[in-house]
């Protein structure tokens, strides 16, 4: 990975989807010292552009504005894991020797719709004929996951809130974050209920934004950018879309499988990961992902988070970017955005948020209530 580029995440009334995507791609190409004419394929993650902004055919729509000429441009849709999936396929095409220079990106423009309309669009990542029809929003699905996790393992509201407090503290130090605001446990617990037991502070943000990376074969990487990151593993897995089809909703089989395969591909264990960006679309999702990826024991993700182990100075810093909670969650951009955040840490460019050990980072991108997962492990050059 020789180039990274992000826009700020936030609510940008004066920006459209295309201009956000172009800005991120141009930033990544500048970082990689690559020009548009050198790029051989473009992989764009986007969850719901057609619903949010009424535009289809998004990859050539963005690619044309960047200046890509005649190359394959394809949109990937796997709900909130759309750009993780785009990256996975981009990497595979380079690893297979098909292309030498590709761009993987993600973009979403969400804030031009009302919150109830956004909830309705995002609900399409679930099974619309069953859970959607019954009135399940994504907060509601994760609230049901949280309730079950609390019931089986004794996870508490305070432990959930500790994830939000930690991610807001990190995001407050991130100049590209959407909501740069420190919050207290008391505020988080007293937040407006969205779907019980989740309050507004347990839920990620509705954001606009884009992110992009440039990938080349490892043997060429130093020529483009001596500060490249080596892709040690990328894995993508799937599971049932409907939550009521899962045998146990207190874990995500797709996350477990993607993690196990990624650790095997990289020849590493969870203990060797220096930092991670986990898909905290809801506080409970970060807690369960920390268990599924082996950072915490099963059922112990709540106490683990509350102990401070996942803070910037903890044993495994999680979401030093502020996570989806504070950095923002432009859904289609999130997967590639996480990769950019990891690379900034690997390069030692994370400023106030910089972690002490930053040789190996892991990113986990989740789609829906666990029907898609992409896990990526990166190593500093």
């Amino acid at each position: 990975m020789v180039g990274i580029g992000k826009t700020a995440f936030g609510a940008f009334a004066d920006r459209d989807l295309r201009s956000l995507a172009v800005e991120a791609v141009e930033n990544a190409m500048r970082d990689a010292k690559v020009e548009a004419k050198q790029v051989e394929a473009f992989y764009l993650g986007n969850f719901a552009g057609p619903s949010f902004v009424g535009q289809n055919h998004l990859a050539p729509y963005v690619g044309g504005a960047v200046g890509f000429e005649g190359i394959p441009c394809t949109r990937f849709e796997d709900a909130c894991a759309s750009s993780g999936a785009a990256f996975c396929h981009a990497w595979q095409s380079v690893a297979a020797g098909i292309y030498d220079v590709v761009v993987a990106a993600g973009v979403e423009k969400m804030t031009s719709q009302t919150t109830p309309k956004v909830a309705e669009i995002l609900a399409g990542a679930g099974d619309m004929a069953s859970e959607g029809r019954a009135g399940a929003t994504f907060p509601a699905l994760f609230a049901m996951i949280a309730r079950r996790h609390m019931h089986q393992f004794g996870t508490t509201r305070e432990q959930l809130a500790s994830v939000a407090v930690k991610n807001h503290a990190n995001g407050a130090k991130n100049p590209l974050a959407h909501l740069r605001k420190v919050i207290t446990i008391e505020q988080a617990l007293a937040g407006k209920p969205i779907a019980e037991p989740l309050t507004v502070y347990d839920c990620s943000l509705i954001s606009d934004g884009a992110a992009a990376v440039v990938i080349v074969p490892l043997e060429h990487a130093a020529r483009y950018n001596p500060r490249f990151a080596k892709v040690l593993a990328v894995t993508q897995t799937s599971d049932h879309v409907a939550l009521d089809h899962k045998a146990d909703i207190t874990l995500f089989p797709a996350v477990r499988a993607a993690g196990e395969k990624a650790y095997k591909m990289a020849g590493l264990t969870a203990k060797q990961i220096d930092l991670a960006e986990l898909h905290d679309c809801f506080t409970i999702a970060e807690i369960i992902a920390s268990e599924d990826l082996g950072f915490a024991a099963k059922g112990q993700g709540g106490p683990f988070a509350a102990s401070g182990a996942t803070g910037i100075n903890g044993q495994i810093p999680i979401n030093t970017s502020g996570g989806l909670k504070s950095k923002g969650h432009p859904v289609g951009a999130t997967g590639v955005g996480q990769l950019c955040d990891i690379v900034m840490q690997l390069r030692g460019d994370a400023g106030e948020r910089q972690v002490a050990r930053h040789n190996i980072g892991l990113a986990q991108n989740l789609g829906g209530s666990g029907a898609t997962c992409v896990v990526t492990i990166l190593e500093a050059a």
């Binding site: 909830a119 609900a123 009135g135 609230a143 779907a195 019980e196």
Partner: protein, 68 residues
Amino acid sequence: MPARDGVVYTETIVHAAPEQYAADAPYQLAIIELDDGVRITGRILERAQIGDRVRFVEERNGVAYYRK
């Protein structure tokens, strides 16, 4: 005959509803484990908790409603 009644596997009370169900909020959404082991997502009239036994009341617009 397939089972109609069951036990609450998990539940939530939805306050922020999607646009088309805004008039219903707050409402209780749940996954019910029916007596034959099948799980379905439906709504609970009044309130129930995990482990509570619920019985099928009716189906409206393709959604199953339950009551304690």
